[in-house]
């Protein structure tokens, strides 16, 4: 079985803080990581490799420094890694991003394509289903668990708001995975050492199969008109008194606001 996993390098948004005075974003020193849902997807691929001997290719689109997440993927057990990087891809919204990734996937063989459900910097959950549509293959999103019959059929547990669904689909198909689907393995020391001797393939526009008009800023139907921080809300009242008085203050405020 051939599996391609699409991953994204993201800033660890849980480490991002707002400047309390100016309300602007403090980005300095924020570490870059493999997007958590994508890491869950990579782990799923590696588990299938362990069980069925799959060949796992990992692909990411991003600036040259995104190579770091591909080295990590190598160290976890990926067989081949590809960095899609080209000025023509820059400024892409989700649709243009999915066109670039689909363009690369058209030149690869796959039985299963895995993406994370969503990235923590954008939270859109769009690129996976969009890739599936471009490639004209079925998708299952919000994957919690996957079983493979060893031949061609996947049985997928899909998470929903009030429970789950069990869905069946044949290869080739695309699934989007939740980070909670599994616990990603650690890199081994041997894997880390080897990862630095392995080759990261660098692909540009000329390596992929897609029209240029569908890529980057030009290929993006949506544009950012403006971006802003929400700023700091005017502070309310803060009291530091004993428990008895605290309770008194809370009750009088709630009465004042007609809440109780």
């Amino acid at each position: 079985m051939k599996i391609v996993v699409c991953i994204k390098q993201v800033p660890d948004t849980t480490e991002v803080k707002l400047d309390p005075v100016t309300g602007t974003l403090i980005r300095d020193g924020v570490p870059s990581i493999i997007n958590p849902d994508d890491k869950g997807g990579l782990e799923l691929a590696l588990q299938l490799k362990d069980a069925y001997g799959a060949e796992v290719t990992v692909i990411t689109m991003g600036p040259p420094q995104a190579e770091a997440v591909l080295r990590e993927a190598y160290a976890m057990g990926a067989d081949r890694v590809i960095l899609l990087t080209d000025r023509k891809f820059a400024g892409a919204d989700t649709l243009a991003t999915s066109n670039a990734l689909a363009g690369a996937l058209r030149t690869l063989e796959y039985d299963l394509i895995i993406t994370g459900r969503q990235a923590i910097d954008g939270d859109t959950a769009q690129v996976g289903p969009q890739i599936a549509e471009h490639l004209d293959i079925p998708q299952i999103s919000y994957l919690e668990d996957l079983k493979y019959d060893g031949k061609k059929t996947f049985t997928v547990k899909k998470s929903t708001e009030d429970g789950y669904q069990i869905l069946e689909v044949d290869s080739p198909c695309l699934v989007t995975v939740l980070s909670t689907a599994n616990k990603a393995r650690y890199m081994t020391v041997k894997g880390i050492v080897e990862a630095f001797n392995k080759q990261v393939e660098i692909w540009g526009f000329e390596n992929i199969d897609v029209e240029e008009a569908k890529l980057g800023l030009k290929g993006s139907p949506t544009k950012v008109k403006k971006a802003f921080t929400k700023g700091v809300k005017s502070a309310g009242e803060i009291y530091e008194v004993d428990a008895e008085d605290s309770v008194g203050i809370i009750i009088s405020k709630l009465k004042e606001k007609f809440i109780i």
């Binding site: 921080t229 605290s246 809440i259």
Partner: protein, 333 residues
Amino acid sequence: MDKSQYKNVFVFVEQREGNIQGVAIELLGKARNLADSLGENVYAMLLGKNIESKAQNLIAYGADKVIVASCDELDEYTTEAYTQAISQIVNEYKPSIILFGATTIGRDLGPRLSARLSTGLTADCTRLEISEEKEFLMTRPAFGGNLMATIVCPEHRPQMSTVRPGVMKAMDKDDSRKGEIEKIEINFNKDKFKVRIKETVKEKSNMIDIAEAKILVSGGRGVGSKEGFIALKNLAEVLNAEVSASRAVVDAGIVDHDRQVGQTGKTVRPNLYIACGISGAIQHMAGMEESDYIVAINKDRYAPIMQSADLGIVGDVKKIIPLLTERLKGLKK
């Protein structure tokens, strides 16, 4: 693309087992505002099986026209059947705007459609408005809620967005509103139906929805254990409130995920939000800052939540919560 051919604001009306989801009603309210600003109409797209009886209600909640597609293929949601149905509606009716709920269904359907129709989709919008130049402005949080971005889709139609449940306000039901109901047939290409539903399981039978609660007593790391949450539950009972939680305690397995507030949980806007031992990570704030009145109880005077709270109490939740519960019980008598 000739944009002038595309008119009217469409809402995808999500149903599960024939029950119209609350988010669809909220979206009709928003669509009403947008359509009024544009001088256009609101269309509800109602897809399902034996679903016609639900159409009239959508008119009472703001639709001018309800397009009903009722057949076996649309009984339970599948990506391909729904994508084909909505694509056909888009090609026939040419909507300018389509709104979807940002649910597991809307977030599966929306992107598939955007790729099929080669148009833009803006996810999880928290504000939708029409500018003075009649441009559709879609504002959403990005970067884990740290940054807000206003997105436009200038050259492609339809302009599509998803909105999380609880973000928009439904309009008051008006049974005297008049509208049209139109039934349509969908021409499916069934060769493309590749995903088979084996089982649909509802795990949470008496599901609580914290997004509906008027008062939330919410706990974070500072509440600590399951025992700590029992104290919150007691307070919630006295206030006729629900208990919610921050991501930290949900991840620790202390509270179920359906009670999680924040970027990866639910968006809530209750009349009163009591944050107990919650530091107020930006991801959490993104889910509750629209609450009318916020009380924060925290040991740390400098915790970020103290900046956003209307009332900040510096102290130990483990002491204050039981005492507050007792006092409120006393007041009730």
